[in-house]
Amino acid sequence: MVNLWRSLRFLVVSVVLLGLIYPLIVTGIGQLLFPYHANGSMIKLHGRVVGSMLIAQNVTNPGLFHYRPSAVNYAGNGSGGSNLGPTNPALIKEIKGNIQTVEQQNPGTPVSQIPPDMVESSASGLDPDISIQDAKIQVPRISKATGLSQQVLMALINRNEQGRFLGIWGQPMVNVMKLNLALLQQRGK
Amino acid sequence: MANSKSAGLSGAIVNHAIVDSFRKLDPRTMVKSPVMFVVEIGFVITLLLSFDPNLFGGHYGPGSGERAFNIFVTVVLFITVLFGNFAEAIAEGRGKAQAESLRKSKTDLTANRRRSDGTYERIPATTLRRGDIVRVLAGEAIPGDGEVIEGLGSVDESAITGESAPVIRGAGGDFSSVTGGTKLLSDELVIRITADPGESFLDKMISLVEGASRQKTPNELALSVLLAGLTLIFLIVVDTLRPIATYLGAPIDIATLIALLVCLIPTTIGALLSAIGIAGMDRVIRFNVIAKSGKAVEAAGDVNTLILDKTGTITIGNRLASEFIPVGQHTDKSLIEIAVLSSLFDETPEGRSVVELSKENGVSFVREEFHDAENIEFSADTRMSGLNLPDGTVTRKGAVDAIRQYVQQRGGKVPADLEAKTSRIAMEGGTPLAVVSGNEVYGLIYLKDIVKPGMKERFEELRKMGIKTVMCTGDNPLTAATIAKEAGVDDFIAEAKPEDKMRLIKEEQAQGKLVAMSGDGTNDAPALAQADVGLAMNTGTPAAKEAGNMVDLDSDPTKLIEVVSIGKQLLITRGAITTFSIANDVAKYFAIIPAMFIAMIPQLQALNIMHLTSPRSAILSALIFNAIIIPLLIPLAMRGVKYRPMNATSMLMRNIFIYGIGGVIAPFVGIKIIDLIITALGLAHI
């Protein structure tokens, strides 16, 4: 009985300390020091939040860079992957469909040139980044839709490319939101 | 015992064992070995399935060969159980044969019991109680364990010890203990019986060698638990395979599952475990040591500290004359002459060695010329012995201080250099004996305690095994140190009293160490009882034998070292066969798993790295291998894994290499060979 009473008292102290004080202090410090990050790296354009730098959104406009395929249709409130296994016929079907989409939108792209990340769904369904190869394949389409030259677009990609951290961690890629914002800026919007 | 000592596996023992292996099929016996009991249950199930393959569901038609397969599995399982029983039976067999011969020496014993009025009555020995007084005449068998209270006689103990030379037993002192079943050769003894019927040494020995009173040792118990745990794990593994197969669309038949289960559970060690224990005890007995429990033998393997008496154990015990040292004005020659005279009729080893050494120095006397001289034997009072010649010459040799006193009492003078020379001898570990004639000290006999040959090497081995040796001696510290150095023991206690031994044991035990010691005297009894391993000498007092947990029938204290090795060997054999047994499973999996799932996942054929002919031959080959490995390992279980003193890590690596890696490889070869045979016999596609 003594122990039960002690356990209950410990519960009260610890919930307050660990479940409330701790996250609230971190929230306070986070909001103070890093308000942009702490609120989700939201991007405002013309006064309106257009999305998060870190969250993929559904972009089908031929004049913008597209994100990777999403198994959850870019639901910012419902992340997830396809969870299709490597021998699942549904996986083959899904990738096949994605290849067709890529070929349709970017005519003339040989299948062998398509990087796997461009046609395979991301883990979160919200992957904000694409590989350089993915971005490059989209250049002719965007050029055609926007009138910007391919060189300008290539330069945009190069400028926004993120390399490996310390040369060993991660892989070369571009953030799509960043790229599209730069693209829009280039077009003067 | 003597005749059975070297007895191998005689035909009679094997025949007995075969009969016993069937008798042991009784489930009430089998259940004591859970692993083998599981095999027996499996056997019963496949036996039922041999009559009706669809007994527990399934749709096997006559063309499926299912019945033939079930019969095949049933037979192999039956043989597996029999092999296990046979291993145990054969290990017990040797003991039983010994017990039989011991029993013979026990039957028909009668006793001459003293009535309260002092007269004697003849009664069967089996009715003797503790405290009864019996009289034994020359040529009669001693009816029970007891203590001699009157008389002195030579006793033939060969029935028990195998040693044919008779030993002297007499009232008082440390040689008063007699054992029932031995034979009095001369004189007459009056004995007080010290054991009730059924509790005599002979009874205990019979039940020990028979294995009747064998209880699982703590370590064996721990291993049994682990083996039972592994068996349970494999039961779970195998039981859950059926639902997995059902999910995949093709159920696996029960015989195959039982075959897999039997292959996986540690049957090899399960079958041999008790045989190893019995054989270990048996090895101890063949060393003429009676261990009162298996626990004592195992404890011997763990011993950290070995306490050995110097005299008789480390050294030959008989101090031998090695040098004559004259004192005062006396010459070598005159000293030697007196020394020989004083020792002429001295039958002790010391005395004889003096005569021997004198002979080497060119001095010898013929006994017959002194037949009228009076021989003075050594006594504890005078601490000297010698000869009184008819011409009045008195020669004595004895402890230096006793002689000094003796000379001073007679008004003689002690030469000045006696003291210095005495202490030189003592310092070197020798024993000085002063030699005196009349009241004149002639000089000293340097008695040397000789370290037994090979002792130094043995202590070195013990050190490698991590065992510390402590020498106990009544000698002074100087002497003790010299001998200790010569023998290579790690430590010594000089001027040791029985309490010192006791204290040492308690100190070591307080540090968590296990201590072994040997002893024979009544005053050793408490220490023998306190020690983790107490080896009592058979020549010792009943109290000592009662206190120790082992009795050495040859009364050789160095046996402790052998017992330690046997204890270790016992554990190593268990460990090695367990490891082997578990390592075997790897190959069995590679045989059976592809075979089981071939229908559902044909690609798993890639795991059939042994290229076994058919799924059924794969399963049967693994099962047959599993069965025949048991009799193949019986000799190893009986003999024990060879033990060589080396440090623990190298021994571990050596045994892992042989029994672990070997245990992985052997079944790959064995199963493949059996598969080839099955295929050649055309049974692969039953």
Partner: protein, 568 residues
């Protein structure tokens, strides 16, 4: 596989070891009551807690009262969070108006978080209020980790005591893990995480008007504070459904490296702590070598397999390269692979990759690591499992050298073997039996998302994860059914408490024994030879127990895949 990727994996592991070793020394000082720099901060806080809770910090407890308090306080906590989960719809700090959970989901979630498993049959952004995320999830992520740490500390105390009686004071230990280890580290990591992009806010979801004119609801919340303790406590329960694959939980390559570091830090440090307790550095070094070897072997197996990709995709569709299904671009193959290995080695269960979409051999590594459950293992419990396997290894090896086995001077006898066997037995039992049941019931098979052998692997993974208190999943399996909620809930509880109570009892038995001094005949456990035997015992016991299941699951699927066969 690339050179940079290979170096990347090695660098992560080197970083872990470099920080874990000093950390281990610090933990040792905490549990031996030594003062440290922040004493003026810690001591008063602890005194207040002792006073409020009613703890006499000088009392000593034997194993029974230690274990009783340990169990009771966890039971109370589990009950508390169960109530929050069921009633969260009516409780405050719930800006997204999330409803209460069903009884079975609440049971599963409470069992999951109290056992440090963090198996989630719910999607955080949709089914957990901010209050739940903080006062239940983040809260238990502290306390369940702390429970693991104190258990192993108590055990080690029992192991080194010479004819002792007590294992320390549970309450003092429990408070100190929080105040001196978990909280300071969590603060540090949480603030760094916010700086690197993890949200930490009480604002509700953001409605965004996307670049091409659509709308998107972006969930967020107090993520960073949860993320820090989620990894430090080897919990793994994510704020979002996608766990550390979600860009808000793990936005960059650097954060994922830090997250791997955080999850590995304390389990790896405890090896050093253990070495300090037994005063044998070399023992710790030997363990490090073999455990790190296993970790790397696993990581590189995943890396090789994922980089090689799916031959079916190669041949049927002509897409070359590695497998990117269920992976994030910012991590690539290399950081995804080490994360897969680390999260199951340290039994955290966080994922930055969808394990269900791994290649068969890539998916086999996490399954096998969870089956071993002792490749460093979860916080506290991992070392306990390692010690359990050490005891079994010592027992077998001791026999092989002809001595009653002893570990660190303590004799291993029937009672210890009984308890170790019980602890060892639970694991296969709670993995294989429920898996078998699931396979032959409609309730079990209807939740599978993938057909054929992969479907089997999903179920096997689920129960293995539950039993190992890992929490990661082949997430295609729909776990939010009454069957799986209850079954996995029970598996998690048995998987943790049966073996840990057995280990407490063993500590109680070991503490009383005297320490036998070492001699030349003692089998030294701090040699690489013995380390090899120890490794062999883990692998052989694991392999013998689970080989059939793994052969039918990942190995079978791999063989089918390379034979060009799709599942039916």
């Amino acid at each position: 596989m690339t050179f940079a990727g290979t170096i990347g994996i090695l660098a992560v592991v080197a970083l872990i070891l470099a920080l874990a070793i000093p950390m281990g020394g610090y933990i040792y000082r905490v549990f031996t009551g030594q003062r440290n720099w922040f004493e003026p901060v810690y001591a008063p806080v602890e005194r207040v807690i002792y006073k409020f809770v009613g703890i006499n910090p000088d009392a000593e407890m034997d194993w029974k009262s230690y274990a009783k308090s340990w169990l009771l306080v966890q039971f109370v906590m589990a009950l508390f969070v169960y109530i929050i989960f069921v009633l969260q719809g009516h409780l405050p700090i719930n800006p997204d108006h999330i409803k209460g959970m069903s009884w079975d989901l609440a049971f599963n979630t409470a069992a999951s978080f109290i056992t440090n498993t963090n198996w989630q049959n719910y999607a955080g952004e949709q089914s957990m209020s901010y209050l739940g995320q903080m006062a239940a999830i983040t809260y238990l992520q502290f306390t369940s980790a702390a429970a693991g740490v104190v258990a192993v500390i108590a055990f080690v105390r029992g192991m080194v005591a010479n004819k002792g009686k007590t294992l320390g004071n549970f309450w003092v230990d429990y408070v100190k893990v929080h105040t001196r280890i978990l909280l300071p580290l969590a603060f540090l990591f949480a603030i760094v995480f916010v700086g690197l992009g993890l949200p930490e806010t009480l604002h509700g979801a953001q409605i965004a008007h996307t670049l091409q004119g659509g709308t998107q609801t972006i969930s967020r919340g107090p993520v960073a504070s949860l993320e820090a303790i989620k990894q430090l406590g080897t919990n793994g329960g994510g704020y979002f459904n996608a766990n550390s694959a979600h860009p808000f939980e793990d936005p960059t390559a650097l954060t994922t490296v830090l997250e791997i570091l955080a999850m590995a830090l304390i389990p790896a440090a405890l090896v050093t702590t253990f070495g300090k307790f037994i005063k044998d550095r070399k023992q710790a070094a030997v363990l490090y070598v073999f455990l790190t070897g296993l970790l790397l072997a696993g990581a590189f197996t995943v890396y090789a397999s994922e980089s090689a990709g799916d031959p079916l995709v190669h041949h049927l569709l002509g897409i070359g390269g590695g497998n990117m299904e269920g992976k994030e671009v910012r991590f690539g193959q290399s950081l995804s692979s080490i994360f897969v290995a680390a999260t199951t080695a340290f039994t955290t269960g966080a994922v930055n990759t969808m394990h269900d979409s791994l290649t068969p051999l890539g998916g086999m590594v996490p399954i096998v690591f969870m089956m071993f459950n002792s490749v460093f293992g979860g916080i506290g419990v991992g070392l306990l499992n390692i010690l359990m396997f050490l005891i079994i290894a010592v027992f077998l090896s001791g026999l092989m050298v002809g001595r009653t086995p002893e570990i660190f001077g303590k004799k291993i006898e029937a009672r210890e073997i009984k308890l170790a066997t019980a602890a060892m037995l639970v694991h296969p039992f709670v993995i294989l039996v429920p898996t078998a049941i699931a396979l032959v019931t409609k309730a079990g098979t209807s939740s599978m998302a993938n057909p054929g052998l992969h479907g089997f692997s999903e179920v096997l993974y689920a129960f293995t994860s539950g039993a190992a208190n890992n929490g990661s999943a082949f997430a295609g399996l729909n776990g939010n059914t009454v069957f799986y909620n209850v079954a996995i809930g029970l598996v998690m509880l048995f998987g943790r408490y049966v073996s840990m109570v057995a280990m407490f009892a063993m500590a109680g038995s070991l503490v009383k024994k005297s320490v036998v001094p070492e001699s030349a005949g003692t089998l030294r456990t701090n040699t690489f030879s013995f380390g090899g035997v120890f490794l062999a015992v883990i692998i052989i016991v694991g392999a013998l127990t689970f080989f059939p299941a793994v052969a039918v699951g990942p190995i079978g699927e791999h063989l089918q895949m390379i034979a060009g066969q799709l599942a039916k």
